[in-house]
Symmetry: C2
Subunit: 391 residues, 2 copies
């Protein structure tokens, strides 16, 4: 289908993007070397798992969320078909890799342990089948954040997890190491603020499709490697002379787009709009809020992570106001609300988001889609109509 070639069709304006293209092999070699040295590699599926604890315990981490269709048929042998494609793709990759298949993401064999979380129904229940294929540890989350008791419960879960990973790596999670990792993770977050700030320009010096591919790398590269690439990119972007206006400014808000899934942003930009900000786990949700470096590191971690405005939380007022704030900050002409098919939490929360945006007179288009290509043309037609309306 035409839209899969969009990234190739785009003029490679930014040379520093090559850094990310070349980064994959370097990172795989690094992970293999670490494993040879006995360093443990942790696979995660969610922003709610604090990397800081994993790194402080001397382990490495990669995120295993699947964005491809190849492993979905394998997954559907155990999981219902009518659940979210991200869950099926991720699960299928693990099953395929552990059963000697060759369609899976090649990262699974690099992982010693999966650290999962009780977020949405689909993931929570999928994780129960995962231990048949790969060691899995699940962190519980309160679903109604904001109370001291919820924070206390999450803190106890984080401390239990730290003990578990200390036993795995043989490295104690010291307060000093934790503070260092908090600072390192904050450095990444500050850098991403710099990157996203440059997109406030009109026109922005980079497309949303390119940014998404960079953000997806955040979940695979080592932090220092990722920062090097983002720094180069920011430096280059700052030198670019502003061009002419390139169509409506769009915010995407909703479910994450794991590596391999760029369908909807590609379609939107192919149709003439520019995505200037993403309110999602592969966008602002991953870096917007920093961990307090001056507070007790455990409490600061628990507080910051519990504040991630994912739709699995109730109520999720922080996300609603964040969306409105971002829409204004990035001067968007419209919002595309993206739901992975059968994701009840984001799908139902759409109602409140739409209401808040309507109040601000910001138009919104809702798209629910899976990883297949069959709805691409239909989505394109709806995007066209939306762009015509807001232009």
């Amino acid at each position: 289908m035409w839209y899969t070639y969009v990234s190739e069709l785009m003029t490679p304006l930014l040379k520093s993007l090559d850094f990310f293209k070349d980064s994959y092999e370097i990172r795989v070699a690094q992970l293999k070397e670490e494993r040879a040295k006995g360093i443990r590699v942790i696979g995660t599926f969610c922003l709610y798992i604090p990397d800081e604890i994993i790194f402080a315990a001397g382990a490495d981490r990669i995120v295993l969320c699947g964005g491809g269709t190849e492993t979905i048929p394998v997954a559907e042998q155990s999981l219902p078909r009518n659940i979210c494609p991200l869950i099926k793709s991720s699960f299928g990759a693990v099953v395929d890799a552990c059963c000697g298949g060759n369609r899976a993401c090649p990262h699974i064999p690099l992982v010693d342990l999966v650290v999962a979380e009780a977020t949405c129904d689909g993931k929570k229940k999928m994780y129960e089948i995962l231990p048949e294929y790969i060691p899995t540890y699940v962190i519980d989350l309160p679903q109604k954040p904001g109370s001291p008791e919820a924070l206390e419960y999450f803190l106890s879960e984080l401390r239990k997890f730290a003990q578990f990973i200390e036993n795995l790596t043989g490295h104690e999670v010291t307060e000093t190491a934790l503070r260092q990792e908090i600072q390192s993770a904050n450095d990444t977050k500050r850098l991403l603020h710099r990157l996203f700030s440059l997109r406030k320009r009109d026109p922005p010096p980079i497309t949303g499709s390119e940014i998404l591919r960079v953000m997806q790398k955040q979940f695979f590269l080592a932090p220092a490697q990722f920062r090097e690439g983002v720094n180069r990119l920011c430096d280059e972007m700052e030198q670019i002379t502003p061009g002419t206006r390139t169509g409506p400014r769009i915010m995407i808000s909703g479910c994450p787009m794991a590596a391999g899934n760029t369908k909807v942003p590609d379609i939107i930009e192919q149709r003439g709009a520019t995505i200037v900000v993403e309110e999602s786990c592969t966008g602002t949700r991953s870096f917007w809020d920093l961990v307090d470096e001056n507070a007790d590191p455990w409490k600061a971690l628990a507080e910051r992570y519990l504040e991630i405005p994912c739709a699995c939380m109730t109520p999720n007022d922080q996300r609603i106001s964040r969306i409105v704030d971002l829409a204004k900050l990035y001067n968007v002409d419209g919002v595309v609300y993206y739901t992975l098919q059968f994701c009840h939490a984001y799908n139902i929360e759409r109602f409140r988001v739409q209401k808040a945006l309507k109040k601000e007179k910001i138009p919104m288009l809702a798209i629910e889609s899976d990883y297949g290509e069959s709805d691409a043309e239909q989505i394109g037609i709806r995007v066209d109509a939306f762009l015509e309306m807001i232009e």
Copy 2:
């Protein structure tokens, strides 16, 4: 459709069932009278909300889960279509009642407050829109029970809820009142054990369709009224002379069937089988485990309620072993696994249930359905094939 008349076609063998048919008007009159006296009426949607606390605070309670299709179109104006029919039906009833509609369940205007819970994604997010129509209080639940910290967190949520309802009713939830209510609720549970025990007979003296209709009344009638009916029913059933064998003995396991929804059990029994036990919220899950009357009442309540084996919990090993135990205890020939359409938690847990039953050589048929009638014939054909296989 033919199956909607099944209950009328059945020979009314048990005269004591009339008690339940006549109970509705009596209960509505009682609720109206209570409200006139200033007694608060609480609406709930889930077994995880301890009735004991509500009653101990001097309030009354009815369960508002919807089992009818009438209010689904109203709900779909705000909620996505592809979520569970129970959630849509329940939400639509509230919206319809509060907006002056006439298709809603007539119980909504009897309710002062909805007490909801963070269980599945669909309900959790629907509850966020509910306050636009009716006052709503949400109790959080840990999702990974079994740890002292999870119990502590749930206990704190129950105590917060008790304070809230004390403020509403002006009645303190004393330890004495709580102990009394625990005993009363246990009396109901003991009585339901007596009722279900009689179904171990071969053939059982009552059909599953009849039992379901009785169990649905548990969530609307006052406890004493419900117990009176069940006592009469048990007395009558104990006098019945056993008849001849009436087809395969079936267990239904899975999602709840709220009042108005009897489609699948009706089809199963119309096709010649007899349902002898239901592992669901409208079956054993509501009464199987008693609250410890000798322990601290708060801790005993928290422990017992957190042990309810709903698929929203992870892992839910207790449910898996309960299903196998019940299958043996009730000497079933097969299990029909029932999922409300788009209920991810029960749908995914099916995989583990099927595996456990396979190990025990107990056949299982999975049915996923909504409240519509369009799949009735197709379900009937699949049930026929299943019954032929196990006979």
